[in-house]
Symmetry: C2
Subunit: 303 residues, 2 copies
DNA sequence: AGCTATTAGTTGACGATAGCAACTATCAGG
DNA sequence: CCTGATAGTTGCTATCGTCAACTAATAGCT
């Protein structure tokens, strides 16, 4: 069995080749790979960008950056103004530069598209999810956008899989938890009441970073279930966004109150609930998952 | 919402930077990045490698390869023999080269390890799965090894998720199929009989490429359930390996026969069953998944 | 105001990387 | 023996990347 370091190195070798095959298209344009990357960054920046920002973003040397910028300016693709700070020379695209970049960008897109022409939409989705997951795990999460969306086909089973693994790794709850997850999601799907029930996925460019369910608990109560946030996505505000969405939904659906069950060991989840206006109404000790812990019932009235 | 091409290009930009940060360690060794990659390839090859094989594998120019090889030979890391074919100069590591490479490799490993030092084991597993998935989808599957392994925590829910998405994308079976999957896996987990039942995952460096379940159907019959192979993994022999494993397991467990239910539209699965000695014993038309189709029962005696 | 340290950017030098083309040596097949 | 193909080498040229010295402007401090 290979470890993550070996796998990452193998991937790096693979990707170096993969990206290398994509590069010759830059050459046809008379630009080097680095110059093309820099031009891309300039094109993305709506305002003028400073050379040092480009250097920082691309991981380039200041001298190298200066030379490439000078080259692009000589060809007329970019222009430099004077900033308020007299040392700065904000860079922006000229009209010709915009046209040139558009053509280059289109060719690069076509090249990339050709590389994945054999993939159908489902596989493209899988590719996007894997790419995002890699970036997230390698620490590029800050550069990525996430949003909440309603659940789609396959999502609830994935929620069950993620939670089973997460809680097993973190608390050792094993297969007892897995069975429980499976039963909750299966029941939810079987008895799904549109408008009265819903599940949301925190979706970061195709990758699931967290999820939550709202189920009808009867007696005018909505029940928040299976809240989780992936470890690499904590501190991004996903947990509270999910809880807030549940409360808003339950309010609109006309429930009196929203309830939930949780465990005392899930401290960060409890903080979320507390901040969102939930109050603990009962505690019950048990050992369902092997070790002794306390199951808690929390509740929040709805306006 | 971004598309796969945009996501892939964004990933390429990310990875170029990511790999760029890893490179300085090669510099300390006096080797360039390309020379280090080439040395790695030589070290991996047990026999002598030809320069043109290296060029092909690394996507390098022949001239460039020649120069790098000459440089490594000058430093004494590699040696060139004469091949049977007088034009060829098979390359292999010298003793010094082996020692040097081992040191370089250790440092590179440590560098990579430092980049993922913040990840726990579960996250490393997730990283490996995502990396493998990317390579598979981008066509590097031939360079990767897969194997069958028994199911672990979370696997069955993932099987349900993958199948629900696969069959929805390919046949439009939607949530009816999803509910069915969920119920089958949940029931399997709840009533799991070790030794009499089992599930296998086709695992390609952490990524699930296919799966199958064997359940006790009562009356001395084993039932093969939920066989699937991911689209990007077809033609690798995974389907027949999964079926064979089921038959072998059912035989060892002492069942009389192995049965399964399938649909007439799943033609490639039917071919697998037929090749593995199953025979169709009954057909029944239905419209469970929206469209009209035929559910089939297949059976195979066990020795 | 004047001094100092810092920041933005430029330039020169040098070596590694990369692509192209011309070249030698060898081999395979008629 | 001739022809075409293959393995590998070498020269030319341009880009890329690093290091270090340099100018110009600014910010902070006394």
């Amino acid at each position: 069995m290979t470890d993550a370091v070996t796998a990452l190195r193998a991937f790096n070798r693979f990707h170096t080749r993969f990206a290398g095959v994509l590069q010759p298209s830059y050459m046809q344009s008379g630009l080097g790979v680095t110059a093309a990357r820099l031009l891309y960054e300039v094109a993305q920046a709506p305002e003028g960008v400073l050379a040092r920002q480009l250097a920082e973003r691309l991981g380039l040397d200041a001298g190298q950056t200066s030379r490439i910028v000078a080259g692009l300016e000589r060809r007329g693709w970019i222009a430099r103004e004077r900033g308020e700070d007299g040392r700065q020379r904000p860079i922006r695209l000229t009209e010709e530069g915009r046209a040139f970049f558009a053509a280059l960008d289109a060719r690069t897109r076509a090249d990339t598209e050709a590389r994945i022409a054999g993939l159908d939409q489902a596989q493209r989705d899988a590719l996007m999810e894997a790419l995002s997951r890699v970036r997230l795990l390698l620490g590029d999460g800050a550069a990525m956008a996430w949003r909440l969306r309603p659940f789609r086909i396959g999502d609830l089973a994935e929620v069950a899989a993620r939670q089973a693994r997460l809680y097993d790794a973190e608390y050792g709850w094993g297969s007892a938890m897995e069975r429980l997850q499976g039963e909750i999601t299966t029941t939810f799907l079987r008895d799904f009441k549109p408008g009265r029930e819903q599940a949301w996925i925190a979706d970061c460019e195709g990758a699931m970073l967290g999820a939550v369910l709202v189920a009808d608990a009867g007696d005018d109560a909505a029940q928040l279930r299976l809240l989780h946030v992936e470890k690499e996505a904590r501190g991004m505000g996903i947990g509270s966004a999910l809880v807030d969405r549940c409360i808003a939904f339950a309010g609109e659906a006309g429930y009196d109150r929203i309830i939930l069950w949780t465990q005392d060991v899930l401290t960060s989840a409890r903080r979320l609930y507390e901040a969102a206006g939930f109050r603990r109404v009962s505690v019950e000790r048990h050992a369902i998952f092997g070790t002794e812990m306390a199951g808690e019932r929390w509740e929040r009235p709805l306006p």
